[in-house]
């Protein structure tokens, strides 16, 4: 059920920019069109490109913000989220907690 919804109407998560748009939507209280526009401006692509896995693979690898293809040395999980928080200008709860627990400046 859920997979079919994702296939039919979903953005594609970390394969594209679905996770980034979802974060912008929740953090900034934006509707879908505004959230897409916000993310597109932040990462320097068109709104249409946000759901294009071909474009977004290169963008995500260049920005090192995690992808479905896990590569040696590539940021993943909390490493990627630290970069995403800075890139989108948002606070990510787990990043804040991680930095506090690790004794890193926040």
């Amino acid at each position: 059920m859920a997979f079919l919804h994702e296939l039919a109407t979903g953005m594609g998560g970390v394969r594209t920019a679905g996770d980034l748009v979802a974060r912008a939507m929740a953090s900034k209280g934006l509707r879908i069109g505004e959230a897409k526009k916000y993310v597109a401006e932040k990462i320097g692509v068109s709104v249409f490109d946000l759901s294009d896995s071909q474009v977004m693979r290169e963008v995500r690898e260049d920005l090192n913000i995690g992808h479905v293809l896990v590569r040696p040395g590539g940021a993943l999980g909390i490493e990627a989220k630290i970069r995403i928080a800075e890139l989108l200008g948002i606070e990510i709860n787990s990043v804040k907690r991680f930095k506090e627990k690790a004794g890193l400046e926040y």
Binding site: A2, M11, V14, G18, R31, E91, F98
Partner: protein, 349 residues
């Protein structure tokens, strides 16, 4: 004349002529407009719905560029519990992130209600902290307010569903009010703990399953949590298109909750500080799937047109135009999915 392959609301196959399909769509739309006292769909929207439902392909999708972000309920229950897969919750989350390409996900306990989670909060926190270290996508924690769990023999309170038939009206009302206060405490306790463990948000799921007291408990909990933690993201998914008046006299900010339809539920959720609202429009198994899809789109569009927060209508089994069956056919699901986005103008599902 070739007939169009469609479905009944219970998932069984149905063949309709073009005229019959148009009639089903209009009838479903009119039912929603009449029940909810909301605007009908336009003729162009009905025609677009016809194109979606009459499409001969098995699976339909939105046009490129029209994609939305999806959220979940019962997220980590789907693989290990429903599917019986030998995989833990962290594995489930990462499979959804890197194999199914979910936009967001939700972690929950097998009992999936706030009350039972309270007793195992340390273990839930530990699991969430592991998930947050490893997951890149947003992961929420979800559970149901589930007021019924506070009644005897599961809880300490007399069961209002047993008191009401006996004519013990005042006792039934008092029992719901007492359960509500307990639920508020439990929701806030669990939500605060999961927030401290890095959850990207809290999903209140199936709100209103026990009626208006269930809704009021959720609204008050959301209000308290947002006051204490303004940065906490709260998603509220409802139990139905209509709030059942099990109590009947409960109000939130001067609005009586019993009888509220989706677009009215949205407004009280916004007042409580909810960040994403999930309307639920119940599918009718005795009607066709096109009838149910048109009806759902009409209710959802009434929400999206007045919303100041994102709208993620529920589209699981038996809601949002999806047939009432645990193995809903892919043709029906994809049509409901596309219609809720392109006609209902939802921000996600």
């Amino acid at each position: 004349m070739d007939k169009i392959f469609s479905r009944m609301g219970d998932g069984s196959a149905l063949w309709l002529t073009p005229e019959e399909l148009r009639h089903e769509l209009r009838s479903g739309m009119e039912d929603a407009a009449d029940m909810g006292k909301i605007p009908p769909l336009s003729e162009d929207e009905l025609e677009h719905l016809y194109d979606i439902c009459a499409d001969p392909r098995k699976v339909v999708t939105v046009k490129p560029g029209n994609e939305v972000v999806h959220s979940f309920d019962a997220g980590t229950l789907k693989f290990p519990l429903r599917g019986g897969l030998p995989i833990d919750r962290l594995g489930t989350v990462l499979a959804h992130e890197r194999a199914m390409c979910s936009d967001t996900f939700e972690m929950g306990h097998v009992d999936y209600s706030f009350k039972p989670v309270k007793a195992i909060i340390s273990e839930e926190r530990q699991a969430m902290e592991q998930v947050q270290l490893n997951a890149t996508m947003p992961v929420y924690y979800g559970a149901m307010p589930n007021l019924g769990l506070y009644t005897k023999p599961d809880g300490p309170i007399d069961n209002w569903s047993e008191l009401l038939p006996k004519g013990m009206l005042n006792e039934a009302l008092a029992a719901q009010e007492e359960a509500m206060e307990m639920a508020i405490r439990d929701i806030c306790y669990v939500a605060e703990a999961m927030h401290e463990s890095g959850a990207d948000g809290i999903n209140f799921d199936t709100v209103g399953a026990s009626g208006d007291a269930d809704v009021l408990a959720s609204l008050k909990a959301a209000e308290q949590l947002k006051k204490a933690f303004p940065e906490m993201h709260i998603e509220m998914g409802m139990a139905g298109e209509f709030v059942l008046g099990m109590h009947g006299r409960l109000e939130y900010d001067g609005v009586r909750l019993a009888g509220l339809y989706s677009h009215q539920q949205l407004k009280v959720a916004e007042k409580a500080g909810v960040d994403i609202f999930g309307p639920v429009i119940n599918s009718k198994s005795s009607k066709s799937t096109p009838w149910n899809i048109a009806r759902s789109c009409t209710f959802v569009k009434a929400c999206t047109e007045i919303a100041s927060i994102p709208i993620h209508p529920n589209a699981g089994m038996g809601v949002g135009g999806v047939p009432v069956t645990s193995t809903a056919p892919v043709d029906a699901i994809s049509r409901a999915s596309v219609a809720l986005i392109e006609i209902g103008k939802a921000d996600g599902l």
